[in-house]
């Protein structure tokens, strides 16, 4: 099947040509040639099992062809039954297939990263008819992200929480939120036990101060250590991220996190189509599925583009400061060097990159 004959919108996958070279010999341009879209054994991309072993093709091909032949049987029936939706269904099936057996994003080459992102964009388009903008931008050299939170400034408005939920496409049903704002009593110190993180009254309340927590992007993250499949890791710019497609959902990282930085999708996360933020990053706010872990990524889709995370941008009081720790002239560095900063549970040796300070 040549790419020209496709009726659907074609992304420039960069791999398309190879695909068509190996393509269908049966001469049909569309429809009937069901088997070819499913025999992905001919696919020459190297990811999934191969990347681990650096075995060129053999294992994966063999495995795929074996299982693909089963799928062809089912596929043949379905295609003969529904000629109308044929092409798109088959393409969706192929995408689903490749997504199911792709490798760990952490170990992918840049081409592989791009390929999976393109597949995800295409898949979304097939399902909803809408176009996403998904990035696979890598960490930039000379960047290490850090965050500072001004306890004296926060007024507890929770605008950050709302901005975060909207930016990061968090599940609306379970009201998932990465950020928690703790309302603390004056004179009790940082006593989380007596703090309320779900207040609903006019703020700032008399005799209280506010302290926000989220993922602290530890430099020595315990959650990364414990993950049995390396589905979560620390990127070079310091972001601790999750490959939602590689996560097996064991929740060991959740038990290992001393800061309540991780969230689990106990059911299928849902965001109304109109509210979906379509500016996405593979490691960031793309749509998750049920049974996987997710967390704050300092809005990787924004921060890697030079923007501030949504919470920083939304904060009306300027209590949130974000920047590049390696830049000696950055504001975050000024804060660390000139204010009395501290971090939570420093004694655990996790080295969070999230500092608190007061005016």
């Amino acid at each position: 099947m040549s790419s020209k004959s496709k009726k659907w919108f074609s992304l420039n996958l960069g791999k398309k040509d190879k695909h068509s070279e190996n393509g269908c010999g049966c001469g049909k341009t569309s429809g009937g040639c069901g088997s070819h879209d499913l025999t992905i054994g001919e696919e020459t991309k190297k990811d999934g099992f191969d990347q681990v072993f650096d075995v060129k093709m053999s294992r994966r091909t063999a495995f795929k062809q074996l299982t693909a032949s089963l799928a062809i049987g089912a596929g043949a029936i379905s295609t003969s039954c529904s000629m109308i939706s044929g092409d798109e269904t088959k393409e969706q099936a192929q995408i689903d297939w490749e997504e199911q057996f792709k490798g760990n994003y952490k170990l992918m080459t840049d081409e592989e990263k791009k390929a999976t992102v393109d597949r995800l964009v295409r898949s979304y388009q097939l399902r909803t008819g809408k176009t996403l903008n998904m990035s696979s931008k890598n960490a930039e050299p000379d960047v290490l992200f850090g965050y500072a939170f001004n306890i004296s400034k926060c007024q507890g408005y929770m605008d950050c929480v709302t901005a975060c939920v909207e930016e990061n496409n968090q599940d609306r049903n379970s009201q998932m939120q990465y950020i928690r704002i703790h309302e603390m009593k004056d004179g009790k110190g940082f006593n989380f036990n007596e703090a309320d993180d779900n207040y609903y009254h006019e703020v700032p309340a008399e005799g209280h101060f506010y302290m926000g927590t989220q993922c602290f992007h530890c430099d020595n993250p315990p959650c990364v250590e414990v993950c049995p499949v390396q589905a979560t890791w620390r990127e070079d710019d310091g972001l601790v991220v999750v490959d939602y497609d590689w996560c097996v959902g064991c929740r060991y990282c959740m038990a290992a996190c001393p800061y309540d930085g991780r969230r689990f999708n106990w059911s299928k996360p849902e965001v109304p189509e109109a509210e979906v933020n379509k500016n996405q990053h593979y490691l960031g706010n793309r749509m998750r599925k049920k049974g996987v872990m997710e967390k704050c990524t300092f809005c990787v889709q924004r921060s890697r583009a030079g923007k501030n995370p949504a919470c920083v941008e939304a904060c009306p009081t300027g209590a949130r400061i974000f920047g590049n720790l390696l830049d000696p002239n950055s504001t975050i560095r000024w804060v660390l060097e000139n204010k009395k900063v501290f971090r939570l549970k420093e004694d655990l040796g996790t080295e969070p990159k999230f500092w608190y300070f007061m005016d």
């Binding site: 290490l144 992200f145 779900n198 609903y200 020595n220 923007k307 009306p316 950055s330 000024w334």
Partner: protein, 207 residues
């Protein structure tokens, strides 16, 4: 004899396993602060920039102490600037009540009346500029110089970046809001209000 050598093998294997299992940290730094300091020394700049996000906002560059950064231009955002377009006569005359009332909605809620009134900041003789405590002119675009007469600590923090808000993004060039972008100079404190959201699931969870 055979048993014995086997025993040794098991012990050796266990020992090797224990050794291998020791978490290998290749980090040569004591903590993240050491790392930042050391790696920051070879900082070469970054390729991302927040310039795109500043487009459409007119900015002016200021240098205060060691810090040089951008702040939004102010004058064009003040309704009916220049002030002298209305204030054609000296204030005293305007106050006689012969003219239509202006600025009636401005209520000064900033320090007490012993410390401040309108002309602490405004120049009765030159409405187009602000006035320092010692009577010097301060341009509306650089109104922070007016604020920093009293709020010296906040000014230091603002220059460094600990006070105030960034515009654009974290990436250079640095652009920051100036005092009056967040604080109404006539009523500088933040109003209390209701939080943006309430999480009913959390309540259920903790029942």
């Amino acid at each position: 004899m055979h048993m014995n050598s086997f025993k040794w093998f098991v012990f050796a294997a266990a020992f090797v396993l224990c050794f291998l299992s020791c978490k290998q940290h290749h980090d040569e730094y004591h903590g993240v602060m050491d790392k930042i300091e050391a790696e920051g020394k070879q900082y070469h700049g970054v390729s991302v920039s927040s310039e795109d996000y500043l487009q459409g906002i007119e900015m002016i560059e200021i240098t205060e102490g060691d810090h040089t950064f951008l702040i939004p231009e102010r004058k064009s955002h003040i309704k009916s600037f220049k002030c002298t377009e209305c204030h054609t006569k000296p204030l005293k005359e305007l106050q006689k009540g012969l003219y239509k009332k202006a600025h009636w909605d401005i209520e000064l809620d900033h320090a007490n009346s012993n410390t401040m009134n309108c002309i602490t900041c405004h120049d009765a003789n030159n409405m187009d500029a602000l006035r320092s405590l010692t009577g010097n002119n301060i341009d509306f675009n650089r109104s922070y110089n007016l604020c920093n007469q009293c709020h010296t600590k906040q000014f230091e923090d603002w220059k460094g970046g600990a006070h105030g808000k960034r515009i654009g993004g974290w990436a250079p060039p640095r652009a920051a809001m100036t005092c009056v972008n967040c604080h109404n100079p006539h009523k500088p404190h933040f109003e209390s209000r209701w939080p943006a959201r309430y999480n009913t699931q959390k309540v259920k969870e903790r029942e």
